[in-house]
C-alpha cells in the first residue's frame, strides 16, 4: 500500500506544480527593469496615480549631487492592491516616504515597485502590509 500512497501524493504534487497551459501572463515584460539591482529612494510624494493597468508613484528626490529628480515607480493595479489593504489614500502628495524599487536598466528615473515605508514607519508591499509575504511578490 505504501508505494501506492506515495504515488498518489506525487501525482497531486505534480498536478499542483505543473502544467498550466500558459503562464500567469504578465501585462508586460520586465526586460526594461534591472531585477538584479535594488534602489531605495527617499523623498516626497508628488502624485499617486490610482489607475489601471498599473498604479504609479511619482516621487521628488534629491540626488547625491544635490539636484532635484522626479522618479516614476510602477506598481500593481488598484484592483490588485485594493484587495490587499491599499487605497487611493495610502500615499498622498507631500508624504515623506522611502520607496524600494528595481530601477530601469538605462539612465531614466523609473522603476518597478517593491515596498514603501510611510512616515509613521508602516511598510507596505503589494501583497499588503508587513511582514513580507513568503516567496516572490506577484508582479504582473
Amino acid at each position: 500500500m505504501k508505494p501506492f500512497v506515495i504515488r498518489v501524493g506525487s501525482r497531486a504534487l505534480w498536478l499542483t506544480l505543473a502544467a498550466l497551459p500558459a503562464a500567469a501572463v504578465a501585462h508586460h515584460s520586465y526586460a526594461m527593469f534591472d531585477l538584479s539591482r535594488t534602489v531605495t529612494l527617499q523623498g516626497t510624494i508628488k502624485d499617486f496615480q490610482w489607475t489601471n493597468p498599473h498604479s504609479w508613484i511619482w516621487i521628488d528626490v534629491t540626488a547625491a549631487d544635490g539636484k532635484p529628480e522626479q522618479w516614476g515607480i510602477e506598481g500593481m493595479s488598484p484592483n490588485y492592491l485594493a484587495r490587499r489593504g491599499w487605497s487611493k489614500h495610502t500615499l498622498n502628495p507631500g508624504d515623506k516616504v522611502s520607496v524600494v524599487i528595481h530601477p530601469l536598466k538605462g539612465a531614466d528615473h523609473g522603476g518597478s515597485f517593491l515596498s514603501v515605508t510611510l512616515a509613521d514607519g508602516t511598510v507596505m508591499r503589494q501583497s499588503g502590509g508587513p511582514p513580507p509575504a513568503s516567496g516572490p511578490t506577484p508582479n504582473p
Binding site: 498536478l15 499542483t16 506544480l17 505543473a18 502544467a19 498550466l20 497551459p21 500558459a22 503562464a23 500567469a24 501572463v25 504578465a26 501585462h27 508586460h28 515584460s29 526586460a31 526594461m32 502624485d47 496615480q49 489607475t51 489601471n52 493597468p53 498599473h54 504609479w56 511619482w58 522626479q70 516614476g72 510602477e74 493595479s77 488598484p78 484592483n79 490588485y80 485594493a82 484587495r83 530601469l104 531614466d108 528615473h109 523609473g110 516567496g135 506577484p138 504582473p140
Partner: protein, 246 residues
Amino acid sequence: MLQKPVRRIRWVMAVSVFVLGAAAATAVAQSKPDLGGVWEVTMGVRTRPGPGAPEMPALTPEYAQKLADFKAAQAKGEDEESPQANCVPPGMPGIMNQPYPMELLFTPGKVTIVIEAYSQTRRIFLDGRKHPDDPDLTYNGHSIGHWEGDTLVVDSVGFTPDTALGPSQGYRHSDKMHIVERFRLTDPDTLEVVTTVDDPKALTKALSGTKVLKRHRDWDIAEYICEQNNRNLATDKGKAGILLNH
C-alpha cells in the same frame, strides 16, 4: 373491495410517492454544484521555465521553427514584449491565468465568465447547441459546455492564431487549437480547472495542466480599463518601452 379509509390511504400514498418523486427529480436537476461567484487563480504555482517548471508544449517541426525564430529575434533585442503591453488581451488559454479574479455567472442555458483582466467576457453555451461548422476566429473562441456528474466540461474552438499559446510569445498555436476545461469543486470554495489543449498543426501531443482557484465571497469584479494610464509599450519590433512623462 377495500374499505373506504384503506382506499383513501392508498390514494394518499400514491400521490405522495408521485410528489416526492417529482421533488427528488427536481432536486437532482438542481443539484449541480454551485460554481457561481468571484474566483481568483491561486498564485505561487510555478508557471515559468526552470526547475519544477510546468510541462512545456511539444511542438511540431513547423511550430518549433516559429519558436526558434522568436528566440533568435529576442537574442537580437527584438520581441521582448508581448501585445499585452499595448493592452491587447492574451486570448485563450492565457486569459484564464491572470492575476485578477473572474466571476462565473449561471443563467439558464449559459455560463458567462466575466474576467477582470482586460475586461474580457467568455460565453459558454449549455443549451445543447454545437460549435459552428466554420466559426469566426476570435481571441476567446466559441465555447459549449455540459455537466458530467459534478464536473462542468467546457469545449472551445475557433481561435485566432494572432494570440500565443504560451508560456511565451514564441509558442504559437494554429486556428485548429481545441481546448477542453473541466471545472470541479474540491471543497466549497476551491475550484480545480483541468485544461487540455490540443492542436494538430502545432502540437505533437496534448498539453494538460491544472490550476486552482479560490472563491472570494466578499469580492466584486472591478473595472479594468487597460488604456487608462498604460505607460508600457511594445514597438512594432516588440521592443519593450516605458513612458515616464508626468
